[in-house]
Amino acid sequence: MNLPHNPFAQADGKKPTCMEMLQVIIDGEATDEQQEYFKSHMDRCLPCFKSYDLDMAIKRLLKSRCCGGDAPADLVEQIKLQIGQNTAG
């Protein structure tokens, strides 16, 4: 057993691909152990190193450009009226 344990390995022992590991990292679903492992993996894997920056940039761009916009001003009032809530209170 010389190989270091891969904390991304599935229960069935299946070896995870770079993309599978990267996704877990990008989405903040990784455990501390997985993060440590991936950090050292990135040092020797150029595709992961490049994809990491790109994926994070896309995620940030999505959040900043696609989230804006408030609901129409009268929407809450209309909903409250329909459920019969006293809007004056």
Binding site: I58, C66, C67, P72, V76
Partner: protein, 197 residues
């Protein structure tokens, strides 16, 4: 996959408190979700309104203090599928079997879009990313909205969408590759424009 729900017994005051303090604060996220699904402001408004009315009607199956946002998103998603999608007769174009096969094949290690670079994203200050997202099939769009825009965890997404976590991952993976393909196209056309001028 129906969850076992313990019905709560709320007083009228409690109901209104939950509605105002736990449900209504999510109205902007809900509206954005509705808009991204229907791609129409009026339809989004109807969908959100309908969702809140349902949430009020079913409030006793909501447990106070639990994840109201995920609960509301799930109702909205179901309303969209059952009411809206049926009306507009837009069938699901995604063959999930195909997606799973794709994901499990050897191809996944291949770099799909080698020409998309972080630098080219910096030029996308307009509606490019929004248009790229909107152009995706609704099921792919949905996972990106839930994950990247709203920050839901895989487990929450699985509950909202009634699919296993493995499917959440694979659909997200496929969705992102499609989005990158779109963005590459934009980057390319912007590059052409820049060299012309």
């Amino acid at each position: 996959m129906e969850e076992i729900v313990t019905r709560q017994n709320y007083s009228e005051k409690e109901k209104n408190d939950i509605f105002n303090n736990e449900f209504l604060p999510h109205i902007n996220s809900m509206y954005n979700f509705g808009f991204r699904l229907t791609l129409d402001r009026d339809d989004a408004k109807d969908l959100v309104q309908d969702t809140y009315l349902k949430a009020y009607r079913f409030i006793e199956s909501f447990q106070k203090g639990t994840n109201a946002k995920a609960w509301l998103f799930r109702i909205l998603k179901n309303s969209f599928i059952n009411d809206y999608r049926k009306k507009t007769k837009e069938p699901s174009k995604v063959d999930y079997q195909e997606v799973e096969t794709y994901y499990n094949s050897e191809d996944v290690n291949r770099q799909i879009t080698p020409d998309l670079r972080v630098e080219s994203l910096k030029d996308m200050i307009g509606d490019e990313i929004s248009n790229a997202l909107n152009s995706l099939d609704v099921d792919f769009r949905t996972v990106i909205i839930l994950c990247d825009l709203e920050g839901f965890k895989y487990e929450e997404m699985a509950k909202i969408l009634d699919i296993p976590i493995g499917t959440v991952r694979s659909r997200l993976h496929r969705a992102r590759n499609l989005l990158k393909e779109k963005l590459s196209e934009y980057a390319k056309s912007m590059g052409y424009k820049n060299t012309e001028s």
